[in-house]
Amino acid sequence: MPPPSLDIIDSPQSIHSSLWRASQLARGGARCLDTGFAALSAELPGHGWPTGALIDLLLRQPGAGELRLLGPALKALAPRRIALVQTPHAPQAIGWRQLGVDATRLLSVRAATSADAAWAAEQILKSDSCAVLLFWQRNLRKESVRRLHLAAQGGNTLFVMLRPLSCAQDASPAPLRLSLTAAAGGVDIGFVKRRGPQRDTPLFVSLPSLNLLHHASVDRRTPAPVAAGSVLSELVG
């Protein structure tokens, strides 16, 4: 057998789109949605969030910036529905609107047991009538995760499962697993698993600011209690 020519080894994707070298990012195959952050898109296979597949977001702490990270993708899918299953706290409609998500698009499902929650998520994926499914889950059995991944492949839903960082140790069928840690002015994204080269250093993504001084022109300057507190502690100390 003659040795394969060099350019085929260099670009195995010319044989089939689902082949890639270990040093390059996979491309083709999955349908993807732009993340809205160029730095992050460049690091993801397909240059965006894959739809119709399970995405595992592992949060170091709830509120690490996951909503602001997903915000542009959620905004891009307007006016289609967003299903939230088993949210950690009550979602605040005004807060979501400030992220660019219209409140009428939201559907919140709460279940008493994790089995019920997984069932609800599976039904939402199967019906394919919601564009996004965000699923918060603490501990889910491995079979259930696989089942949800299969259900996601049947449709075109952007399916994100948000779990604590401790779940990074467990095996998961998700083709994309990212860890999120809040950082000053943004979020540090660690690539736990992706179809592409291993990346050990986290990627810093600068998130849109919370618009903290939104009403600064109307209101007084930074308040008294903080200043008073600090002065007092010095005096006491």
Binding site: P62, G95, Q98, L99, A103, D116, W119, C130
Partner: protein
């Protein structure tokens, strides 16, 4: 007389006495033949099969004939149609031999004969082939010939081909005209007349169970059988159902218990049973029954005229609004109305009042587009009191405010007065929190009370 296949394997044969069967199988269940329940099952099957054609009629000896000439295109051809008919019959908990032929009488003859011989589902589409097939049938397959079997056998007439070769005037004189008429109809040489089944104006069907069941979930198969009948009835009358009512009847007599009722209201009228089956399955799984169930009743409580959906050339991504409504109904059926929510914000300054979520089955209020200071994506159900460390509120780490305050003071009119100064605070872990300071209680100079009320995602 009938026996299950496992009984036949054990050696039970037709014509055995009760004692003989019990000697072979001591634990065999013996049932008396109940003619009226057979008739009920047959009419139920006929009702269910009306979903494939409006023209169905009873033929003799537990046979139903369907005119499917006009339905072939709709159901995707003869094979697909036969498969669906068999599926429906299976859903009813019955077994059937299905055959099709250019004449109804011919098809009925083939189905009955093949059922006895254990053959499966003969399909004949052309008249010459049907005639060849019928020629090979024994004379005993023709019910009208049964009184004359002895002398037909005596003159060496074994199958229908032999019977047709005999001179007609002679047969007419010796036998009766019914035999010849049946033969002509089967061979397609005479017109067939059928008394097509008429559907009643309202639907209420009851199936008595053979055993008392303790768990509501076990009634699922009976409910499916009833739903198949409902579908047939709806299709025949061109109706769609918006509310169905299932009653599980309990023991009567001294300890009479009122029947358990499951009411199922649908947002979108439907005339197909797949969605109803899924909804009722979830409802039955949730249901706790107090006494054993002996019968199941299904009633179409509210119906309206059927409006078939118009299909679009290019399907929209994300399915139709009806798909979404069906999903909501399914979720509500298992999780309960109070667990499937949509936002319905209230125009109120207090965040816990403004952030109102209502069930998806209720109408929702729109959100007014008023510019507001930043609000967190997550609102805690109940504010968490924060401890103070070095005069700073502490939550995992010391929090320092990063925004100017927002004063919210409202609710004096209904006793839920809030007097709060909200800040956005950042911890050492760079997460942003929405905290507030209670102003009442602060007047006499004690330490301020801080609470955590929200988390920015």
């Amino acid at each position: 007389m009938a026996a299950s296949s496992s009984a036949c394997d054990a050696g039970v044969r037709y014509g055995m006495r009760r004692g003989g069967v019990l000697a072979l199988l001591p634990h065999a269940h013996m049932h008396e033949r109940a003619i009226e329940r057979e008739a009920q099952a047959l009419s139920g099957a006929a009702t269910a099969l009306l979903q494939y054609t409006p023209q169905a009629a009873f033929s003799d000896d537990a046979t139903i004939v369907l005119d499917i000439g006009a339905s072939l295109r709709l159901f995707g051809g003869i094979r697909a149609l036969c498969r669906r008919v068999r599926g429906t019959v299976r859903q009813l908990g019955l077994t059937a031999a299905v055959s099709c032929a250019p004449t109804a009488a011919g098809a009925a003859l083939l189905a009955r004969h093949c059922h006895l011989r254990g053959h499966h589902h003969p399909r004949t589409l052309s008249t010459p082939r049907l005639q060849r097939r019928l020629d090979r049938l024994p004379v005993s397959a023709l019910p009208a010939a049964l009184p004359y079997l002895d002398w037909l056998k005596g003159i060496g007439c074994r199958n229908l081909a032999d019977l047709r070769r005999l001179p007609r005037p002679g047969l007419q004189r010796r036998g009766d005209t019914r035999m010849l008429d049946a033969l002509d109809c089967a061979y397609g040489e005479a017109m067939e007349l059928h008394a097509w089944i008429e559907t009643p104006p309202s639907f209420r069907q009851r199936i008595e169970l053979t055993e008392r069941i303790e768990h509501a979930e076990a009634a699922q198969h009976t409910v499916q059988a009833l739903l198949a009948q409902l579908c047939g009835w709806l299709t025949a009358r061109q109706l769609a159902v918006t509310q169905v009512c299932v009653q599980l009847e309990h023991e009567r007599g001294r300890q009479a218990v009122a029947p358990t009722v499951i009411e199922l209201a649908l947002a979108e009228p439907t005339w197909q049973d797949a969605h109803l089956i899924r909804l009722l399955k979830e409802r039955l799984a949730q249901l706790e029954i107090s006494a054993p169930v002996i019968a199941v009743v299904l009633e179409a409580a509210r119906t309206e005229a059927m409006a078939p959906a118009s299909e679009s050339l290019f399907p929209e991504p994300g399915g139709t609004p009806e798909d979404y409504k069906r999903l909501l109904e399914l979720l509500v059926a298992r999780l309960g109305v109070e667990h499937v929510l949509q936002p319905s914000p209230l125009a109120d300054y207090r965040p816990e009042q403004a952030n109102r979520w209502v069930s998806v089955m209720e109408p929702a209020a729109p959100l007014d587009a008023r510019p507001l200071p930043p609000r967190p994506g997550w609102l805690l159900e109940k504010p968490v009191a924060l401890v103070m460390r070095q005069h700073r509120p502490y939550y995992g780490s010391r929090l320092h405010p990063v925004s100017p305050p927002e004063r919210i003071e409202a609710g004096w009119w209904n006793g839920l007065l809030v007097t709060r100064d909200y800040y956005i605070a950042a911890g050492a872990d760079h997460c942003h929190y929405w905290i507030y300071r209670e102003r009442i209680g602060d007047v006499d100079g004690v330490e301020p009370h801080w609470y955590l009320h929200g988390v920015f995602g």
